[in-house]
Symmetry: C2
Subunit: 334 residues, 2 copies
């Protein structure tokens, strides 16, 4: 049997994740059952939604159990196929990769990739879950009109970098919020009109007002916290807030979020605040993926990856992404 | 000249309104200018939106100034018409009645009433602003589907009593929240399935869970405050909160509303929270008024009024309505 170092959840994090919440176990390679594929892991994805699963609280994603293997999106090469849909040598993307070099995934939800069409790890970024999330949250929930200002935090992250470029392609006015000047410079180079460094700006509300002189029409809220508050105070009449994530609260995940509420302002502005979950758009994945691939092949979607090396790096990659220390889509190359 | 006791704003209220915020001045009867009507006031309406106007803060309604006459919805008989649209003796409804027995209104926005069709004061209630607000906020913003549970606070109030009955007519499942058992009994008699007395219920969240065993699909939020919080915790996936008013905060109107925020829950449930302002539906008033009048004449809309007598009573009528001490649509008979 092959040695197969495997990350498991040792305990539920309290506040921000710690490396000690995870344990690396020396397991045997798993065996593919009927309908499964044994896959050699090439890439693992770490994503904000994972914070929600690492909690005993009810969530939209099924929760991890203590002692259970960490699971997430990945790309790999099929070694053994127990499904007529795939053959050894196929490169596939799936959302149920174990955090281990050899893992089994369900053939039913796996996606065969064409390495000639785009680098295979884009299926975890601009052509995968973050790209689809950007596409549907901005266009289908935010429903922006020509020329409207779209404010996007974590703007160089996996979702933000694609959302900003879709906004540019669609004739909108994208404004970035990010945690460093280097990130903002890159955001501007890919099409954001301007940006705000939320770590060095004292008065976030004022900074948004200056960066968005016509106000904010759509706020793609993937952070919650103080950025949400400042954006809401700049929201135009009939403005929209699409609640995509709450990563700013990753360190206080299970604590109540106490702060100013804005019902009066929502009333006065007739704002719309709406939660977004990608799964709801599954029926339309095909057309969105086709559109994103087209834009990518036309050179309209630039991407930036932040790659951690080796299976050992997976928990730290997740933690730095939740802290906003990554620059670009955070990946692990196994 | 006729003596014409007239209410003016003496100072901006801090917190809950006080009778001392208003002064009764002995003015002369006004004179109608071109395009205006001199009207003998029959009924005045006091409504939650008035709290917002009595503030120096920016709001959706133009603010009152200190020393200025109080203004609101009313019904009256035309005495002098400086408009070809109306004649002396016409009974009209308008939104710019001064709080005085003889007042002038703009002919352009006045509405001629047919006293044979319905009691004229219904133009301030079920066939007027509160009825239209109930109609559009529930049906056009809440967009309920057959059989869905609709939770309505201030359920015996001007808006709530109509919203509950529209919900019943449309095959929905209306649940009342009100401040007394007598109000709840009446709510059930007009079509609410059940109700919750928020003044005697310790655990509002649990009470809503018991009253709404299938969860809350649409919450017609005309209160904000603790009722909003408890409703949100019972909101179904894809639930909708229509923000119609914030009357529970009438006593802390200009203070920040600090408390639990629910972005994570909005994300998980894909809830939609949307502000409502009646003016946005002006183009559709005609059809809604026709539908409401039809239901009223078919006996499908029961109404209950709480009538204060005499122009002197106007400020106290407004205050008791803001405190929830009224039982039914609060009116002043002049």
């Amino acid at each position: 049997m092959t040695s197969n170092p495997t990350w498991v959840l040792k305990r539920f994090p309290t506040g921000m994740l710690s490396p000690d919440d995870f344990g690396l176990e020396d397991r045997d390679a798993p065996v593919a059952q009927r309908g499964e594929l044994l896959v050699r892991t090439l890439w693992l994805s770490v994503d904000p939604y994972m914070r929600g699963r690492l909690s005993p609280a009810k969530n939209y994603a099924a929760g991890h159990k203590i002692g259970e293997m960490m699971v997430g999106g990945g790309v790999g090469e099929v070694v053994v196929s127990e499904s007529p849909l795939f053959q050894p040598g196929d490169i596939i993307q799936a959302d149920d990769f174990g955090w281990q070099p050899l893992t089994t995934v369900s053939a039913k939800t796996a996606l065969r990739l064409d390495p000639a069409a785009a680098p295979v790890q884009t299926s975890l970024g601009c052509l995968g879950m973050p790209g689809l999330s950007a596409y549907f949250s901005l266009l289908h929930v935010g429903r922006p009109k020509q020329g409207e200002t779209v404010l996007i935090p974590a703007a160089s992250g996996a979702l933000g970098q694609i959302a900003g470029q879709i906004a540019r392609i669609r004739g909108l006015d994208p404004v970035a919020i990010a945690g460093s000047d280097a990130k903002l410079d890159w955001c501007k180079s890919i099409g954001y009109r301007t940006g705000i460094n939320h770590r060095t700006t004292g008065d976030l509300t004022g900074a948004i007002a200056r960066a968005c002189p016509s106000g904010v029409d759509v706020f793609l809220d993937n952070t919650a916290g103080p950025i949400h508050d400042a954006a809401l105070l700049n929201l135009n009449t009939f403005g929209r807030i699409v609640v995509v994530g709450t990563v700013a609260r990753a360190d206080r995940f299970d604590q109540p979020d106490i702060g100013p509420r804005f019902l009066r302002r929502i009333l006065v502005t007739r704002a719309r605040i709406e939660g977004f979950l990608l799964d709801d758009f599954e029926a339309q994945y095909g057309e969105a993926r086709q559109q994103l691939t087209e834009w990518y092949q036309q050179g309209l979607l630039e991407t930036r990856e932040d790659v951690a090396e080796g299976i050992e790096a997976a928990p730290l990659a997740l933690i730095r992404m939740l802290k906003g220390e990554n620059f670009g889509k955070q990946l692990v190359r196994v």
